[in-house]
């Protein structure tokens, strides 16, 4: 006999776990299906977890979850070949409870988060792939897994399947499939280093962490960023770039990361460390325009599968968790009414439209397209920034006025005043 659940969640990432946790807390019979060996085994992100949205899922989580370091400083490095212009913000206020953000290792954190869901009554099964959805008269009524006797029935199926949204596409919720311009490839390494060494090199006290975002030479001028995050006794270093650019430039992402690791400004930070893990993943960077239809009869889409990533602000896992929670709330309401059709579940779209998720994504809806076509922002401008800084800082007995003239001349030779103004205006339009 095929078993029936109130809620079937496909994928135990932050979005899926949050959805399952929410419905289980309300007493709904919930099953969470993960294809990896354990929740988190296949999950990848840079490694920054924000406190506020996570607390919406598990209040006070930071007192017990396996976290690495709390972040007290964020730096932005604009890299050229052998120099860097560095910006940053460091504050004591993020060094105390309730904190702002943490570095985490996903394999450990997701496992912990899933354990919280299991504690709330979620039935978790792993090493099981959902191959298809069971559809009856246009209504999703369950899932078909790859296991023998592998069908399950459910009132609602939550698709938290991640970026390669096979089921979402199969259901024609995302009709045109995934495009290379909507996807970024990110690779990262976790490099082991002793605690004390990390705290020395990054000027930290015990437990404190720092994040560095890198643009320019880190992606060899492609649209994308690099990052360096401090964990307890390791460093996460990675780089991501638009798939379309990687394809066009024929650069292997691994080479990109090697290149970054060997950059003279980066090398001393990771010197002597041993690479413990190598991870690679796709990121849905398509933004607002690439969002699929988020609901159907008996089905909802959350997290990466829904394309909830804000590339500009390095946000993804927070949107995943909040979208999961919102989906959970909509299902609880639907359960009360006993209605699981499209109309009932459309409330999910409405709630998200009123939340930061769709508002933010809408605000930046033209950003990724703009960058895709204005890639000199990632190649030329970092170089210019480094050139300007170098000229200003080098003491060479040239009168300052002449120096300014020289800088302006050099800059406008590379990009005319009109073009610079255009860039600034367009940039302001898409970002502002």
């Amino acid at each position: 006999m095929t078993e029936k659940f109130d809620v079937i969640v496909v994928g135990a990432g932050p979005a899926g776990i949050s959805a399952a946790l929410t419905t289980a807390r309300a007493g709904l019979n919930t099953i969470l299906i993960e294809r990896g060996d354990f929740p988190g085994s296949k999950n990848v992100m840079g490694g920054v977890l924000y406190r506020q949205p996570t607390e919406e899922i598990v209040p006070g989580f930071y007192k017990k979850a396996p976290l690495e370091r709390h972040i007290i400083e964020q730096r932005l490095w604009i890299l050229d070949k052998n120099s860097v212009v560095s910006l940053g913000y460091k504050t004591q206020r993020h060094g105390e409870e309730p904190y702002n953000a943490f570095t985490v290792l996903r394999a450990r954190f997701d496992r912990w988060l899933a354990a919280q869901a299991v504690e709330q009554g979620v039935l978790l099964i792993t090493e099981t792939v959902v191959e298809d959805l069971l559809v009856d008269d246009g209504h999703v009524v369950g899932v078909k897994t790859g296991r023998p006797d592998g069908e399950l029935l459910g009132n609602v199926v939550v698709l938290a399947e991640g970026v390669n949204s096979m089921l979402t596409q199969k259901m024609e919720l995302k009709k045109d499939g995934l495009k290379t311009t909507e996807l970024a490839v990110a690779v990262k390494e976790i490099i082991a280093l002793p605690k004390a060494k990390i705290e020395d090199r990054f000027n930290l006290e015990q437990g404190q962490g720092v994040t560095i975002e890198l643009v320019g030479e880190s992606t060899q001028g492609m649209v994308g960023t690099g990052f360096i995050y401090t964990n307890t006794d390791s460093i996460s270093i990675g780089v991501g770039a638009l798939l379309s650019h990687i394809v066009r430039r024929k650069i292997n992402p691994n080479e990109l990361l090697e290149h970054l690791k060997n950059h003279p400004m980066v090398r001393p930070l990771i010197e002597g460390g041993e690479t413990k893990e190598y991870l690679g993943h796709l990121i849905p960077e398509g933004g607002y325009k690439a969002i699929p239809k988020l609901y159907g009869n008996g089905v909802l889409v959350v997290g990466d599968a829904a394309g909830f990533v804000n590339g500009i602000h390095r946000e993804g896992s927070n949107m995943a968790m909040i979208s999961g929670k919102t989906a959970g709330q909509v299902i609880i309401e639907a359960h009360k009414m006993g209605e699981f059709d499209e109309r009932s579940l459309s409330r999910y779209d409405k709630y998200l439209s009123n939340s930061f998720i769709l508002k933010d994504l809408q605000k930046y809806q033209n950003a990724s397209g703009f960058m895709e076509t204005h890639d000199h922002i990632f190649s030329l401008y970092p170089k210019l920034a480094n050139f300007v800084a170098h000229e200003l800082i080098t003491v060479d007995s040239v009168p300052k006025k002449e120096k300014q003239r020289r800088i302006l001349k050099e800059v406008t030779a590379r990009r005319s005043k009109v073009e610079l103004l255009k860039d600034a205006y367009r940039g302001w339009r898409v970002m502002g």
Partner: protein
């Protein structure tokens, strides 16, 4: 037919390291798995049950988190799982472990007579292959190690015939039942658990038996009941770095000539 399978939770040995400074085990981040040989024992028990009817009970000794291997066994089709867990069992060596497991099996027998006890040939963390024989001796059952095939089980005459895999040959052995078998991987291919079994496993709670439930002799368990103890652990010694012969990529013929020169000089290979 009632089959008892002994299973052990082991660290994934490929991940265990010794801290070279302190000579202590680095266990952090090492994942736990069911001992692979034991998984084959469970698989075999379940397939025997399919052929002959009956039930499969798995038994494990370990800390509370070892319940995970019980669940794993349930997912593979076992009916019932018992975890022998007590702080006083900690530190048991193979002699004490076989005693505790044997006492557990005796208790199972009281509830339901046992026809076969299956174990993996050894656990991949200790690699001792001593607990299976120990259990057989303590239960007074015949021991059949390195079983690669169960040829036949005759419940009426209470005889089992198995193929044992030895270094240079295979032997067909007949034995009275109940017997203790330790199995090698060749005995079967692990099958993919069905979804209903997986759901049952996810919901399953192992039956936990403590020292009191087993009525074991405290002198024979834990550190006290263990004649052997670890006096020290250390990282394996490294062999000295050898010589890299250049040109393997660009001029393999020349590199081969240099190597053959060197090997012939060692006089290991007779230069005819």
């Amino acid at each position: 037919m009632h089959i008892v399978v002994c299973v052990k939770q082991v660290p994934d040995t490929t991940e265990v390291r010794v801290d070279p400074q302190t000579n202590t085990l680095i266990r952090e981040g090492v994942s736990s798995i069911i001992n692979p040989y034991d998984a084959h024992a469970v698989e075999e028990a379940v397939s025997l049950k399919k052929r002959h009817g009956g039930r499969v009970t798995v038994i494990s000794m370990g800390p509370p988190q070892a319940e995970e291997v019980i669940r794993r066994s349930i997912a593979m089709g076992a009916d019932k799982g018992i975890l022998l867990s007590d702080r006083n069992f900690a530190g048991s060596d193979t002699l004490a472990t076989s005693y505790i497991l044997a006492m557990g099996i005796i208790k199972i027998t009281e509830e339901h007579p046992v026809d076969l006890v299956l174990c993996g040939k050894q656990a991949i963390d200790g690699d001792t292959a001593q607990v299976g024989p120990g259990i057989a001796v303590r239960l007074g059952m015949p021991l059949l190690t390195y079983v690669m095939k169960i040829e036949s089980v005759d419940l009426s005459s209470r005889e089992i015939k198995v193929h044992r895999k030895l270094e240079e040959k295979k032997v067909l052995v007949a034995s009275r039942m109940p017997a203790v078998l330790t199995v090698v991987k060749d005995i079967n291919e692990l099958s993919y658990s069905s979804l209903p079994n997986l759901l049952r496993a996810a919901r399953y709670r192992a039956i936990i038996w403590s020292q009191q439930d087993l009525e074991v002799d405290t002198e024979q368990i834990g550190l006290r009941g263990s004649p052997t103890s670890v006096s020290k652990i250390f990282a394996p010694p490294q062999r000295g770095q050898g010589e890299i012969i250049k040109g393997g990529r660009d001029n393999p013929e020349n590199a081969a000539r240099i190597l053959v020169d060197k090997l012939l000089k060692t006089k290991i290979i007779a230069n005819k």
